[in-house]
């Protein structure tokens, strides 16, 4: 790929940070903190864990200052770091749930993050102010990690199949398969809500 194909404002900020301008790192954090936090929050379903994960993502970028090379879009790199950090956080919480080599387990029966049990709300639940949001959160939490990540990247972050595949380190076909299963799973979980 031509270097100029993906040089953007983020990469310029990162390169200026690399040259010693810390304000550029601060600007990058300001620009992308909500994106990273939303992704972590939707994936982990816990406010505090999502906040810690967001901080860890940016600290990893800070530590990579001297080794960063602009080889892809900055946001692709950011999503990969965020995905890996989310997986580590999830594995810490539920050991063995995910593969930590960067590839999300594709098994259909991979354990969901937490049971969609209304009697044990997570900290985020208390901040979800509508019934619909609470039902959706429970439905997303009930998906296996791979499907949940595919939904977050493609549905919420609006990544193309190709971009999601690059982040998830899998094929486009695998992303489509995960999304297909996720859509069917979400439909089944949310159907009861529509019939009320």
């Amino acid at each position: 790929m031509d270097r100029m194909d993906f040089i953007d404002e983020d990469i310029e900020l990162m390169l200026r940070f690399q040259s010693g301008d810390e304000a550029c790192f601060e600007r990058l954090a300001e620009l992308h903190k909500d994106r990273v936090f939303n992704m972590a929050c939707r994936f982990l379903g816990d406010y505090q864990e999502a906040e810690d994960t967001t901080q860890e993502v940016f600290l990893k970028i800070y530590r990579a200052k001297n080794i960063y090379r602009p080889q892809a879009k900055f946001t692709t790199w950011l999503y990969i770091i965020c995905k890996n950090t989310c997986l580590k956080a999830l594995d810490k919480k539920h050991p063995g749930t995910v593969s930590l080599d960067g590839i999300i387990e594709l098994e259909e029966d991979a354990a969901p993050m937490q049971a969609a049990d209304p009697s044990s709300p997570s900290p985020v639940d208390s901040m979800v102010d509508s019934e619909a949001a609470s039902v959706i959160k429970a439905a997303i939490d009930s998906l296996p990690p791979s499907q949940r990540m595919a939904v977050i990247l493609c549905r919420y972050e609006r990544l193309s199949y190709e971009e999601a595949a690059a982040v998830m380190l899998c094929s486009v076909k695998a992303v489509k398969s995960m999304l297909h299963r996720a859509r069917v799973g979400l439909k089944e979980k949310l159907a009861a809500y529509f019939k009320k």
Partner: protein, 180 residues
């Protein structure tokens, strides 16, 4: 096309992956089949419904807190970053095989040398009494000389704790690299 086949194809249909006769055939089935039409509606509505879930806002002061932590970590990293190249070469996983090889070679060489030297040591008991301490001293010295490599390596092996610490420093640095 039956309902089972049609329902299997609903998601890729909604994702716009079909065209031509396949798309038209599926659209015609959905139009004519209430069950498949309901299934399609549920898929569309459940996907649209995801918009209703927005995570809470990140607390104010997040960036300031991040910058404080980053700067304190950065200052700590500056202190340890002087050793990375040294620790790379002195890592136990690189030095230990070299030490082991040296030990084997030194041991084999000393055994061979001792075997060659045995006939020369036989006249020693017949030497005058006053020369015995000197002879013992010579034997001890020659043993050290013979096994000099072993003694030197043993001295270096005492520093393994230090080397392990260097390895830990290297692992910290390489972890930062691997998180890219």
């Amino acid at each position: 096309m039956n309902c089972k086949e049609a329902k299997e194809l609903l998601v890729p249909f909604l994702e716009g992956e079909f065209s031509g006769p396949q798309k038209e055939g599926l659209a015609a089935h959905i139009e004519a089949c209430p069950s498949c039409r309901e299934e399609k509606e549920l898929l569309v509505r459940s996907w649209q419904m995801l918009d209703n879930y927005t995570p809470p806002k990140l607390k104010d002061g997040f960036t300031a807190s991040l910058m404080r932590r980053a700067r304190s970590e950065g200052a700590a990293t500056e202190k340890t970053s002087r050793l990375p190249r040294l620790s790379f070469w002195l890592a136990p996983r690189r030095l230990l095989p070299a030490f082991a090889s040296l030990l084997v070679i030194a041991t084999a060489a000393s055994l061979f040398w001792k075997k060659e030297a045995v006939p020369e040591k036989q006249p020693a008991p017949a030497a005058p009494a006053e020369t015995v301490p000197a002879a013992d001293s010579t034997a001890a010295d020659s043993e050290i000389i013979e096994n000099l490599d072993v003694y030197e390596n043993a001295e270096m092996l005492k520093d393994l704790d230090f080397l392990s610490e260097l390895d830990a420093v290297e692992k910290m640095n390489s972890q930062a690299l691997s998180d890219r």
